[in-house]
Symmetry: C2
């Protein structure tokens, strides 16, 4: 064991924190993730900065809250002025690349304004969220708009899966009981095995690509973002994972009829979305969740394969490993589907961190209870590699002290997350403009408070009501708590890192030094 | 008269709103500014977004509040991701350039990261705040660090003023009673005439340069930022302006002994600054202010020259003209010197707007009472030239409706301004870190509320106490007002434009359209 030299940053997509064996799911099998957690630590309370792919990932990749990086939804270009993980890593001499998904949209207007050629070296990085795009694949390839050169499609064709878009027609389709090829886009087909061999699934393919790249890199220090597309929908998985689980493995939904009685207006609007209505139907929910669980077990098997590979290569000695997800999945809990709102099912993320450093030996296998956030990863990686904290830009904190010094004091006592649902039907049904759809969440040990643009807040007492079934947003007896939580949000809003182009050290060096520079003012 | 085709954006530096004839100063003579105000309108309540050169100007030049553009003090690079006036104007086919000061520092790290050559066309714009640098001169040239190629110094040498830095040794120096050359940097020398002929002063020179450029541009649509360096210190001015005013022309200071009894901690720290101590000495104040007034009258004469030139050229028919300043100057009021805090003497700015459009005829010569902000200018210019509002980035509002539709309703009821005094001695005396020095002001018709990091707030009742002599920040009878004003600040913090890379129209077009793009989720 030794100091980390490489970073393996594994992201799953839409993997709920509570769908791992090591986080307590009674039937979900994730032996390899569990084994990784035993080698490192698992954070029991880790949260995403936005429960939607794009903005959550931009927080992971910039180390900044959603409102600081400004890419508030899928498809919102990341401002060219934002620095990313790759920028920080490369300055430390670490080759940094991507295999899989980022959901980043490039700031083409910004590049044009600055004369940055999107095909040049710098332009490619600026277009790919700062990663060298060893393989960029955002994982959704509708027939209507598939890149004809998608490498995974080329790979599938080479394996004998024909057609323009075998991603869809094979990897994300099944054959129904009447022999017809049917699409995995539709929930009704979730029980069917996907039409690819498990060795050729997206998850298998991306794992292969990662191992090949790690081999190629040899002793060159690297940071690899292996970003799996699953268990995100389409909910369809190849055999044998498609029937590894059945409805007896499924936990009852976390929802109560009272939640539908007078829901918060924004929640009510989300309950009307098609995904919410379908996942509120227990029969449909039971039909789909086994596929979701199968997708997780599939990833887990490949994590096992990858870990064996790293062990053989000696890379477990010098590689920090993170396994996490961009957000959760309601799966019908709270009468909701998908994500975007702030119940734990959507907000919480798995977070396993393995540090080969012997200073982390004392905590191996532990569950860590501190509140952690997605934005903590870049500071953790910089810390592991010995860089400067960049705290004038980065808004998270290195997690290493939690591994190296069990019982670290002076940790944060609240986490924050944000939403911007301007793109959703809920905006239309609520009759809002695109700049009236923001929500801000602060969560402490006990309380979760959500402040919505234009609507009353939500409040949950996580101690008395850990399932978040009773919204106390208008409770008379909780006015003081709401005031306190609102004040926390305000302080947080003020504390964001806006002044990102100068370090604190530079400011110290320039304080009160006009005369030294020959500039006299107010001097008699 | 007709639609504006060109924009002449004249900025003075540190010109107090109340030091013009047309704003009511009883002895300050500004006949040409007054004449311009009669041609257009004068806003009686215009405010800067930060009472310091750099951040105030970055708000003028980006159309965004300080915390949105992030350049919170002089010398803080403007993030490469920020768009500027020149970007908006050029997209409308308008050549946009600078003569004078911007106080912008380029984001060299951002340019390096993106491979932007600072010497290339795009790099020059990115380095010059988006302006074509027809003549960049930030106006302070200490002997210790003068650009050897400063054009104004070259010009002075060509006129026979010798030496390495005639900006200092002639234009900003005098000859004292014993025949010694003495520096205008020192307040004690403010009574002396500067050692240049008035025809060769900075103000004269910049005006000459502007007229030459306007002639050259002919019928090409242009936006010229003529950015005077004065009446900013050094407080020294050539004859005859040096003795155009004497101590009998000076208004008594706006200050009261009670202000020193238990000042707000931040104000107390600023009162200890050298400039505050010197301007608190009435003899020194009376010694310096005549030079400040002379500098203003000097500018005024050149405004007159410039207006005659525009008239001769026919440019008054097709040019929108703004005259404003980046902030005020305490000049000893409230026992303070310089600026940075939020009393009206520092916060308020002159704002004259002339629109040749006949729709503005109805308001010519009027005083407009609506609350306006520095960030309103870019939207005004875009509006005048027929562009899109860019309201997903720009945080101000076009002022044209106030000229075209007298009595416009639905105007703002509060203005906001910010400070970040990390660079000042006050931070050291208050024992603060560089990220603990922010202050936020909201001003309504009646109330001015200032929320300080780490300290109690300030509150002034502008109706009962228009001179702002009594800080109600701890008054028991004003708790509810403070709560309301604090809530206004919070709402304002939330409403900032963070999502700048996508227009509202694009969002409308993409709302709830996944199926149209072939993407199905939550569909049974």
């Amino acid at each position: 064991m030794g100091k980390p030299k490489n970073i393996l940053f594994i992201m799953c997509d839409q993997l709920r924190a509570d769908y791992l064996g090591c986080t307590g799911h009674p039937t979900q099998k994730t032996p390899h993730m569990d084994a990784l957690a035993r080698k490192g630590v698992i954070f029991d309370r880790a949260f995403c900065q936005a429960p939607v792919c794009g903005p959550s990932r931009m927080s992971f990749y910039t180390g900044r809250y959603m409102q600081s990086h400004g890419s508030t939804y899928n498809g919102v270009p990341l401002n060219i002025g934002e620095q990313t993980l790759g920028d920080y890593m490369r300055r430390l001499g670490v080759t940094t690349g991507l295999i899989g998904k980022t959901h980043m949209t490039a700031d083409r207007q910004g590049m044009k304004r600055l004369g940055v050629d999107p095909q040049g070296d710098d332009g490619i990085l600026a277009s790919q969220c700062g990663f060298e795009p060893w393989e960029r694949d955002d994982g959704l390839h509708p027939d209507a708009g598939t890149d004809p050169n998608l490498p995974y499609n080329q790979y599938l064709r080479a394996q004998g899966y024909d057609g323009d878009n075998p991603w869809h027609s094979y990897a994300n389709s099944g054959v129904d009981e009447t022999g017809n090829v049917v699409s995995g886009w539709l929930l009704r087909n979730a029980h069917l095995p996907a039409r690819v061999d498990k060795a050729h699934s997206e998850t298998a393919y991306m794992t292969d690509r990662a191992m090949a790249r790690i081999s190629e890199l040899g002793e060159t220090p690297w940071c690899l973002h292996l970003s799996y597309i699953k268990p995100h929908w389409p909910y369809i998985v190849p055999a044998p994972y498609h029937n590894m689980y059945d409805s007896t493995d499924i936990l009852p939904p976390n929802r109560d009829d009272t939640e539908k009685e007078a829901p918060h207006p924004v929640i009510a609007a989300f309950m009307e979305h098609e995904e919410s209505r379908n996942f509120s139907d227990e029969a449909k929910r039971r039909h789909v969740i086994p596929a979701y669980m199968g997708l997780i077990s599939e990833i887990d098997d490949h994590i096992g394969r990858l870990m064996s590979f790293l062990q053989e290569q000696g890379r477990l000695e010098d590689t920090m490993i993170v396994l996490t997800s961009d957000h959760g999945d309601y799966l019908g809990d709270h009468w909701l589907g998908e994500k975007e709102m702030f119940h734990e099912e959507s907000l919480a993320i798995p977070m396993i961190l393995y540090d080969p450093d012997e200073n982390a030996d004392a905590t191996r296998g532990q569950h860590v209870n501190e509140l952690v956030e997605a934005i903590d990863l870049i500071p953790t990686f910089i810390d592991a590699l010995g860089g400067d904290s960049q705290s004038h830009i980065l808004e998270g904190r290195s997690l290493r002290p939690l591994l190296h010094n069990a019982g670290t004091t002076d940790w944060r006592d609240a986490v924050f997350s944000e939403a911007d649902y301007a793109w959703r039907g809920a905006r239309l049904s609520l009759d809002l403009k695109p700049d009236q759809t923001r929500a801000y969440m602060v969560r402490t040990d006990r309380w979760k408070f959500i402040s919505h643009d234009h609507f009353k807040p939500q409040l949950f007492d996580l101690e008395e009501d850990p399932n978040e079934l009773m919204d106390l947003g208008e409770s008379n007896s909780h006015q003081e708590i709401r005031r306190e939580m609102s004040e926390r949000l305000t302080i947080w809003l003020r504390d964001r890192r806006r002044r990102t182009t100068i370090t604190h050290e530079e400011i110290e060096n320039r304080t009160d030094n006009a005369k030294e520079r020959g500039i006299y003012f107010g001097v008699w």
